[in-house]
Symmetry: C2
Subunit: 234 residues, 2 copies
Amino acid sequence: MARGLEILPVDGVGEVRPGDDLSRLLAHAEPDLADGDVLVVTQKVVSKAEAQLVPIDPNDPDSKSTIVEGESVRVLRRRGDLVISETRHGFVCANAGVDLSNVEHGWAALLPEDPDRSARRLRDGLRGRLGVNVAIVISDTFGRAWRRGLTDVAIGCAGIKAVVDLRGTDDALGRELAVTEVCVVDELAAAAELVMGKSSGICAAVVRGVDPSWLGRGEVHAEVVRPPAEDLFR
Amino acid sequence: MARGLEILPVDGVGEVRPGDDLSRLLAHAEPDLADGDVLVVTQKVVSKAEAQLVPIDPNDPDSKSTIVEGESVRVLRRRGDLVISETRHGFVCANAGVDLSNVEHGWAALLPEDPDRSARRLRDGLRGRLGVNVAIVISDTFGRAWRRGLTDVAIGCAGIKAVVDLRGTDDALGRELAVTEVCVVDELAAAAELVMGKSSGICAAVVRGVDPSWLGRGEVHAEVVRPPAEDLFR
């Protein structure tokens, strides 16, 4: 196993348009993808390729509110323009993931309908085009309840476990750890964001060298979304 | 600037004991640290070196509760054994950061008194020993309100801005972004965790290749801890 990880930005994908085959664009931009790589792709280009776009009147503040309400199953908090709500996927985030940045004027991007399915399709597409077995993480930028600043997290994945369970693994002093379930897909999304940046037009990054034991069947929806019964803050 | 990032685990630090000079141990384990590197160090070894340890009776459940209460300025939620509380630093986390894993039997590790100060000391120590100008992130493993699984976040930093403000930067389509404040120290902590793992005894990682514009004066306490007045979920 490689000693560390490499995180490489994927250049040259270009503008993504509704109906584009994202696996074709990514295979063209990164033909050297290899088995065991994790490809992190931002939600924005997935939503664009899947035509998850709705018209918005940028001069009418109610226009965005109406879209955000429509994408929310429950509003947790409001303050001024900010709405923290739960999406139909179970994500708790600002403005139900509705976003105007890096989208053409007059349009808003919604989250993909089923981001885990989007990740599986992209993984299958890349296997078909390049003959490689890569893991996919679809990332988006979320805030946090008690910490300032945004970080990227995973909203969908394929070919990798979302949460790696280290329960029962001995710690370095030889006693049993009570519980350490690490959300590796969120950590991969965060790591990838470090090479992307909002303004440079880079929509994907390759993480090379991840622990092979993490690869396999995984899903953000089933593993990461906290069921309401467990939730102490809804 | 390098095209991507490298994340390298730091091997060979060994067991850290109260009173140990962590900069000596890390300089010995990673003599090739270079200007502009970010060294991510786990809270546990910082707390041990700083003797932030208290005796605990592992057979008495009240023993841990008493310590957790003492480390909390406010309890947000309780469920069974789990306490979500605010520490005196302003962190909201499980059990006020009190932790028994990778600590000698009969002892519990508390958070460092002032993790930003710990980071500055470590940065100064490494500059003195190796003549290099590195950034430091001190990481700990926290849960999240609405997502399962734990991720590493920053509890202290030095030599790097905690939050990088991309407000006003043009997005890729040339329009102004309303707000994108990225908490890069949390993303660096998460990225480093991917090469550490709880059971392998690796307590630090080097992140090489970060954007030089992020380096400079920074502090988790001032930049990341959300003041109660802004908080919608306390």
